[in-house]
Assembly symmetry: C2
Homo-oligomer: 362 residues x 2
């Protein structure tokens, strides 16, 4: 593990989730070794999350805590557009890819308890995989967490703590709890989560027969997913499996757009009172924001925002064509609809979670 | 298509969903032809719904209306037990397997509109696949349909009609509407739905490396799923892919147990006022009940019932181990817990739908 900002190195099983300097951590591999494994068996197999185990820091697929995550459909959606629909994961969102890797690691390190803060989806996923592995889960949620998501977290037997305030307040409480009581702390910026989320990118490349799209459009909450997918394509290129890396477009809700602002002004400033219907991306101070911005700038894409009205229109539009997404799962498509003149095709939008997570629209 | 009761034959594209005599229809194949196709390419491929196209009456996989249904996980769940978790289908239940086949057929027959009655899951699935194919959907639901399911049906742009009374009342209204206005009528007893649902069985056999379990435990609503899975194993045996057919165990809710009563008494009598928390199996007059009973008796299994309290306990028990199921999706497991002394192992329970469909438990 290497700090994204100061470059300090850590071991894979060190109990650290952020650099001493406060920067977020990234994980490095020996790509020559990976290439050998790949060439022998890779192309034949069906795309699914654990197919790409050689790119995960758990290093081997034995003992994987798995519930069949990944292998989600890449759905043709009109001319030159695909939707990668993550709602068919075990808990209904892409978070299961990260949870599968990080709970596998937690088990290997002998952890008995995990602690995390969540806008809802990550908590559901962490609770689920903790339950599967027999670990205790303590989940901190902001007070405005949707009822459906809270019910799901509880169904997995997790202990839930409602915190007055935003996701950031819940994250602070979770970190304090962890410092006092121990266990494995899983925050949004936690590097192993991102490693698991790379499989969204691996699967897209695989499902398009290793011919990447021109553009990838992703929602940005903590920024972890966008950077992970970027990293996935970088790794595939490094290994010779793809020739190019798509342009990355990061979409945020107007009421919670710190990465968009940083893209425009060059300066990161948290949004104190984030407000959007897309609860899954309601992160005012995204800790992987810098990583996401790096991927966007490096590939020549942009960060832009959409209004709640545009998000709701995108939810309806997706539904009318057979894809039921929660608001956060329609943010990327809302961005595509708004900025399509500036986005090269073919393009892939990632829809991060099922509409069953949100419940009834007014 | 052959009538299950009088033996009368119909063509595959005849617009008929029930025999003139009132019996339910079954579909016959040329298994020698199927065997040829299979042996050349079958074993290598990854298990997923359209892998088994040669067993569907649409007869070829081109033009399939698909959203990545099937390929659901078979999750090891303690010693000698597996849960086939259908909650990871595109709309969150096994119904997508049937919808995919029947909407593909509807498109091929030039239909512009589909009409169906539903306890909720089938309506969500039919609406979804209709939306995907550009067909209009008119969905009749009983008044007590869960709000989550109704919201999902509406999200796919279907026209919904709430009917005072039970599922049977909704089915009558749907049939009348169809007689008056035309379109394709999809009822619970509709034979093409069952053909698609066979893939639950194909995948279980495939995922267990063509070595079938001793027992299969399934919930019984209309009875379509149980008979379909039985038919799948019969077909695999006919084609030489498996050597034996498991024993089939059909589980119903005590408040809606017509198949259990028929198993005990030999006589089918509808339950007038079905009452159970497991809304997905709340069918008082199951039209594939005779088929389900046939499969159960033929294989030496039994039909039994569980109380709502036992269903809720099963929901909680599944959740605590990482599987979030709706009440209907916990009925089979509730039956397994209650009657496990009489059920040979290894066993597979089918969990038919995600807990996100149901919402919050009191």
């Amino acid at each position: 593990m290497v700090c994204f900002e100061c470059g300090k190195k850590y071991g894979v099983y060190d109990d650290v989730f952020r650099c001493e300097c406060g920067g977020s951590l990234d994980i490095k591999y020996d790509y020559r070794e990976i290439r050998k494994v790949i060439l022998s068996q890779f192309r034949r197999a069906h795309p699914h999350h654990w197919k790409y185990w050689m790119f995960y820091p758990t290093l081997d697929p034995s003992g994987a805590v798995s519930l069949g995550e990944g292998g989600t459909p890449l759905i043709p959606f009109g001319e030159n557009l695909f939707i990668k629909f993550e709602g068919t994961n075990p808990t209904g969102s892409f978070k299961d890819r990260g949870s599968s890797v990080e709970i596998t690691r937690a088990v290997k390190t002998g952890s008995k308890k995990v602690v995390c803060a969540t806008t809802g989806n990550m908590g559901a996923s962490v609770s689920c995989y903790s339950a599967r592995a027999g670990l205790k889960a303590v989940i901190f949620v902001p007070e405005d967490v949707p009822e459906q998501k809270l019910a799901q977290i509880k169904a997995y037997g997790a202990r839930t703590v409602k915190v007055k305030g935003t996701y950031e307040d819940a994250a602070k409480r979770a970190e304090n709890y962890w410092k006092k009581h121990g266990g494995t702390y899983l925050a949004g910026d936690y590097p192993f989560r991102g490693e698991g989320e790379k499989s969204v990118g691996f699967e897209i490349a695989d499902q398009l027969n290793w011919d990447p799209p021109a553009s990838l459009i992703l929602p940005v909450g903590n920024g972890t997913l966008l950077y992970s997918v970027y990293k996935a394509f970088s790794e595939l290129k490094e290994c010779g499996l793809v020739r190019k890396i798509p342009k990355f477009f990061g979409i945020q809700a107007k009421g919670c757009n710190p990465v968009v602002r940083a893209f425009r002004t060059g300066e990161f400033r948290p949004v104190e009172k984030p407000k959007t219907i897309a609860d899954a991306v309601r992160c005012g101070n995204p800790i992987d924001g810098k990583k996401a911005l790096y991927a966007i700038k490096k590939t020549g894409g942009f960060a832009e925002d959409v209004t709640d009205r545009e998000i709701i229109r995108a939810v309806k539009n997706l539904g009318r064509k057979g894809i039921y997404a929660e608001p956060g799962g329609a943010v990327a498509y809302a961005g595509f609809l708004k900025f399509r003149m500036e986005i090269p095709e073919p393009a892939v939008c990632v829809s991060t979670g099922t509409g069953l997570k949100h419940g009834v629209f007014a």
